[in-house]
């Protein structure tokens, strides 16, 4: 029907597969994601460190270039698990800041404007809604964490040969799994907090508080009670312990890996509970 006719007509055309509907939320959220220039610039800056690492890997393998620059010949970098662990530490911090920028704006506008009713009166479940919103963070944060990490790994593999690649293939698993754990924790925290407070700025502040105050309280508890179990409320420490295990770092973590996993899973379960409580088409007024 052309618009000039201005009469109602039904629709009997093609329908998209039901499983793919949550990706509609990703597409529409992505469009609004980079409207802010600050966010766009920050996102671009997140690629600075991976580029630096790439240059480092290249320079490390091409010593003649270093000699030309007056540097002492010989490899100056050990590209191993430790190298990628440091890389991920740095990128994880940037991922956290990026989440603080974009995470709270994903759910809170829908809740504060009552738009959830309109989402959920369509063939879209609450789980799919949360998945759709989480996919925005998952895909965006993947671009700055494990995807460049894998690029770095394969660049190093192409320089060092297949033997190095097979010997260190476990690093790819550590990069991907370590990144996904961090992204999951960040996404759940951002969505749950913004669903809870329904106010973008406050949700962003709470997210920062959750990580920074959590770390502060953890240290205070440890100091007062002379224990290490205060770290159970320090999310970044918990993820760090899991990463140390994944990257086969030798050291003495303050908590066991099992304790860290249990604490992270408990936190994830709490966030999901909060989301399931708050992501509703209507609230019951008792």
């Amino acid at each position: 029907m052309a618009v000039y006719k201005r009469t109602y007509r039904g629709y009997s055309g093609a329908i998209t597969p039901a499983w793919s509907r949550f990706l509609v939320l990703y597409r529409f959220s992505r469009r609004t994601l980079f409207r802010s220039k600050i966010q766009t610039v920050f996102f671009a800056l997140c690629f600075f460190f991976p580029l630096l690492c790439l240059l480092g890997i290249y320079a490390n393998a091409h010593l003649s270039a270093l000699t030309f620059l007056g540097q002492r010949p010989g490899p100056f970098l050990d590209v191993n698990g430790r190298f990628f662990s440091v890389y991920l530490d740095f990128q994880a911090a940037l991922a956290f800041l990026l989440t603080a920028f974009i995470g709270p704006g994903l759910v809170s506008p829908d809740l504060s404007n009552g738009a959830l009713t309109l989402y959920l009166c369509r063939p879209l479940s609450r789980t799919e809604y949360v998945l759709g919103k989480m996919s925005v963070l998952f895909i965006t944060l993947s671009w700055i964490t494990w995807l460049p990490g894998l690029v770095l790994f394969f660049v190093q593999a192409s320089i060092s040969g297949s033997q190095w690649m097979w010997d260190n293939l476990w690093i790819t698993g550590a990069i991907v799994l370590g990144s996904l754990i961090w992204i999951t924790v960040l996404s759940l925290a951002a969505l749950a907090l913004s669903a809870w407070v329904r106010w973008r700025i406050v949700a962003g502040a709470l997210l920062l508080g959750l990580f920074f105050l959590g770390a502060g309280f953890a240290r205070a508890i440890n100091a007062v009670l002379r224990t290490h179990h205060g770290y159970l409320i320090d999310l970044s420490q918990l993820v760090s312990i899991v990463w140390h295990d994944l990257f086969r770092d030798i050291g003495d973590p303050p908590l066991s890996v099992t304790e860290a996993w249990v604490a992270l899973l408990t936190f994830a379960a709490f966030c999901l509970y909060l989301l399931m409580r708050k992501i509703r088409a209507n609230e019951v007024v008792r």
């Binding site: 007509r9 039904g10 404007n113 009713t117 009166c121």
Partner: protein
């Protein structure tokens, strides 16, 4: 197999410890169904239950034969919903918002964009379709809500207080749109309102809720038809012959005060026949009224006598 549009079988819904809907049983097959009731009667709860937002505590509800408990997604793909309250993303343009909603209903991206433009033109927001929803007036927001509800071409359109907060011209526009959609024959409409006039002007069937129970069901088309057969006359002249003639046609006649008579027309008798027999007997018909049992009368009667039974 033709299923009723909405079918409720002993439906009860509890919100917390409160039983909001109690043992509702009814079935609607008309094109436009009016849902009436005072505040707190359970109208919105019934709509939310039909959309699968609340789970029935007992009984069942079906839309086009699909159970709201087990086939909520299928139902939602057939339904368009215009909620009573504000429901927008304020910093989105109307066309983007409606496109998003149409895509979530399953329309492919290009088709959703086309339908978003069409539905905005249809409701009269064509010129304002690129404006942010947050900048819309109340009337425009109501129309945008209607546009998002019809963009995907639903089989059942649920309108919750569509004329809320509208000025008289905007209300007339909304009512005209509802009538047009009704007359297109491509969708069924469930209209929930506390404004009896809105329901009277648009609906064929009316169900009245009170305290979570159905207290009255009425087919307005039948009511209007039966009202047309009930006359109140004021006569002047020798009326005995007129009454006999009317009875001879099969009409029921009952005398009132001051030359007034009440007549129930037989099925094959028209008002013209009454004029004719009055003229033949040289009787003056000083007044002829049809019974005007308006929806307001029906509603008030239901509120006074309604005890929850049908």
């Amino acid at each position: 197999m033709n299923h009723p549009v909405i079918e409720l079988r002993n439906l009860s819904v509890r919100l917390g410890s409160r039983e909001v809907l109690r043992d509702l049983s009814c079935s609607f097959s008309g094109t436009t169904i009016g849902l009436l009731g005072p505040n707190g009667a359970g109208k919105s709860t019934l709509i939310n239950t039909l959309l699968g937002f609340w789970t029935p505590a007992a009984g069942s509800a079906h839309i086009f034969g699909s159970d709201v408990r087990t086939e909520a997604k299928k139902i939602r793909s057939l339904v368009g919903y215009m909620p009573e309250n504000d429901a927008f993303i304020h910093n989105m343009s109307a066309v983007s918002f409606i496109r998003l909603m149409a895509e979530l209903s399953g329309l492919p991206s290009e088709m959703a964009l086309e339908r978003a433009h069409e539905s905005l033109f249809y409701v009269g927001l064509g010129e304002a379709r690129y404006r942010k929803l947050g900048s819309y007036s109340l009337g425009m927001k109501q129309l945008a809500k209607l546009a998002q509800a019809i963009a995907h071409g639903p089989k059942l359109l649920i309108l919750d207080e569509p004329t809320n907060g509208l000025d008289p011209p905007a209300r007339q526009r909304m009512i005209r749109l509802v009538r047009e959609m009704r007359d297109s024959g491509q969708m069924h409409i469930l209209l929930c309102s506390h404004l009896l006039r809105d329901v009277e002007e648009t609906c064929e069937e009316v169900v009245i809720l009170k305290q979570g129970r159905v207290v009255h069901y009425s087919n307005l088309a039948d009511e209007r038809r039966s009202n047309r057969r009930f006359l109140e006359l004021e006569l002047e002249g020798t009326i005995d012959g007129f009454v006999d003639a009317a009875r001879g046609l099969g009409c029921e006649c009952a005398p009132g005060a001051f030359h007034r008579w009440k007549l129930v027309l037989a099925d094959n008798v028209e008002v013209a026949d009454i004029y004719r027999i009055a003229a033949e007997r040289n009787i003056q018909l000083r007044r002829l009224n049809f019974r005007r049992d308006t929806l307001e009368d029906i509603f008030l009667k239901a509120m006074e006598t309604g005890n929850g039974g049908l």
